[in-house]
Amino acid sequence: MTAVAARIGKISWTHPRTIGVYGIVLGALAFWLALPPLAARTAALPVVVGILAIAAGIWSWSRDEHRVGGGAIAAGLLGIVFGLLATRSSSAHLDQVVVWSALGAATLRYATPLTFAAIGGLFCERSGVINIALEGMLLSGAFFGIWGAIWAHSWAGNAAWVVGIAAAALSGMVFAAIHAVWAIHLKVDQIISGMAINFLALGITGYIFIDKYGDSGTPGNVGDFGIPDIHIHFIQSWYFIGSILGSLNLMIWLSFLLLLGTWLFVFRTPYGLRLRAVGEHPRAADTVGISVYKTRYIAVISSGAIAAMGGAYLSIGFVHSFNEGMTNGTGYIGLAALVFGKWRPFPTWGAALLFGFSSAIADRLPDAYGNQWGTLFQALPYALTVIAVAGVVGRSIGPAASGRPYGKQ
């Protein structure tokens, strides 16, 4: 607590950066005012608040806080646009779409596979190996997860999901090991081997799926032995939070732990320091006696295991079935979250939550507004990432040695 207090004490409340943060908050407020439960019906309110946000952004931009200032300007503009859209649609429709507790729970559900994929990618890319194979690893985890669970169901009963997760992690490790050998020892372009893994995972999972379950699909009773939801009774009774956190899937709680563990490991342990050193300047790391190859192998292979567990959540924790190519870009959104979060665990999680939220909204929009708007919302994570790499809201720069094979001398 004292650390937190000390940090709060250090904040200068009129510093340009802080003003920029006010702007971002105001931008969000402009949108929020037009939504239930307040649901302001006048267009003036979001516009005025949004303009305040933009003003704060410009003020902070002109004082060389481009990152926060740009963010505030963007937030103000988005707040005005979405706020206006919201005030113009009927309250009944809004109430139907914006149910905060349901949106909150859905956001977490959608964000979890992204979090696993992105954290997997974080380990890999922090060690200097680009991983665009996250999509393939997620897909292999989704298939081998459900396959393992179905196989184990006869003798493990309702605990078959444990075997499922193990099978998923193992499959992810196998694919990651191929990527690792190709990228580290054979020094093949890492983008090429990543694309190859994506193709192979798509083909292999599709092939075995058709061969095994082609005619009728995966069994309908997977939900009985899927990854269980954790019902916490004393939380369930809490106002608002209870309905979000009360009965989350086990993997969602695990993703919180994974996040904390990753942050501790990467930024607070000597192993994490070695990992980052290998990713930033392998020659220097080698000079002080860190094995670059060993570090990279461990990082890439654990990356596969983590990403594949996200896939297992998708198939046996979330939808309880498997379809050919069912990840449908989830791995790429995970990669986007990693880039958006600048290769840091908590910002990456923030991006995953944002993208999860946009999926959750996209899911609920069709009920009130028809299919087409929900569809367009699915593009939002990708558009935001293009904006992020374009440097409007501060540039995303990855680990320095990312993508470069290392040759010992």
Binding site: V188, I192, M195, A196, A336, Q372, L376, A379, Y382, V386
Partner: protein
Amino acid sequence: MTDELLAEEFEEQPPAETPQPSQNFPSKFNGLKGAIGPLITTVIAFLMGGLVVLFTGKNPIKVYEAIFKGTGLNWFFHVGNHSARIPFSTAHMWFPFDTASVAAQNLQQTLLLTTPIILTGLAVAFAFRCGMFNIGGQGQYFAGTIFAVWIGSSFGGMNPLVHVLFCLIAGTIAGAVYAGIAGILKATVGAHEVISTIMLNWIAIWVGEYLFGQQGPLQNSTQASIPISNDIVEGAKLPVFWGLKLLQGLSIGIFVALAMLIVYWIIVNRTTLGFEVRAVGFNPEAARYGGMSVARNYFLAMAISGAFAGLAGAIDITGWEYRIGQNDIAVNQIGFIGLAAALLGRNTAIGVGFASLLFGALINGTSGRQLDPSIFRPDLAGNLTTIIQGLVILFVGLNLTGVVAWVRKRRRA
């Protein structure tokens, strides 16, 4: 930007055995020697694919034979005394092959699929020559299809020649502009083109799903429940010169694609632009010292590369698809197959041409329309195609000499 450049400057040169991208993809097609690696790769991929078939209890030789029959490439083996109609006329002439056989129809399908793969392959190859990895072929292809469908299904009374050219040019420009976004980002702020093109792919996919979906702005005007576009008008269709239009005969789009192979070769090898693009791809710093604008070349290479992919989309629409549905957008993989074709063809015009034919034939041979289900399930075969593509990409990037050196070193140690 500056600290990145500094970092690059102070980074020691990698040791000689580290393969450079430029060595993996030689700038000149040095005769048969350059084809050995891709050929070995293809053989390995097919052998491993055969093993997969074997594990599922089927005879791989029979399966491959059935796939080969489906490709229509056996058409070339049946030489005889036939009469063929000269395209676009009523006159007939002697021809060594039967132009109306089943094999001929299969071959038309193979060539229809080869056409866009050549073009998306060139899209990847051209960016490669500039040292960039354009994974966005899929998105640029969709940009081309969207504009071709939109323009093709409007302007009903237009002169057919003008209309079809309008479709093709609009699709080409759409692809160029869409890839240009990634090019500008790379040139100005140094955004990694792989990340930006992956994201642009998915934006194009979802925008396409939105446009042609139910109640979408470009959904067809007659059946509100079907998420599909309007058909393009008769005047916007490319002429079919072999086979029947109703049975997806072969359009003259294949000649456009072949011409583009030549255009690609000329741009890369015989123009100042191509020289600069290759110079930047080989070593951006040296090119900069030589007075070339690296940023300008990044942008131009990306835009030209996108133009190829956009043209692929426009030719598919005007050549045989005539419409596009939400489902097509979800399952289409042409852009990624182009990636495999460019890698296997080592970014040379002739290599991309042959590799595209291989993948076009493979996809057609394993399609539900061509493959006999009693021999092998087409949906299994489709996945077999994906596996083979993955293996090709996996092994073609492998510098065989590098592997040999590594194995030798191990043995010594």
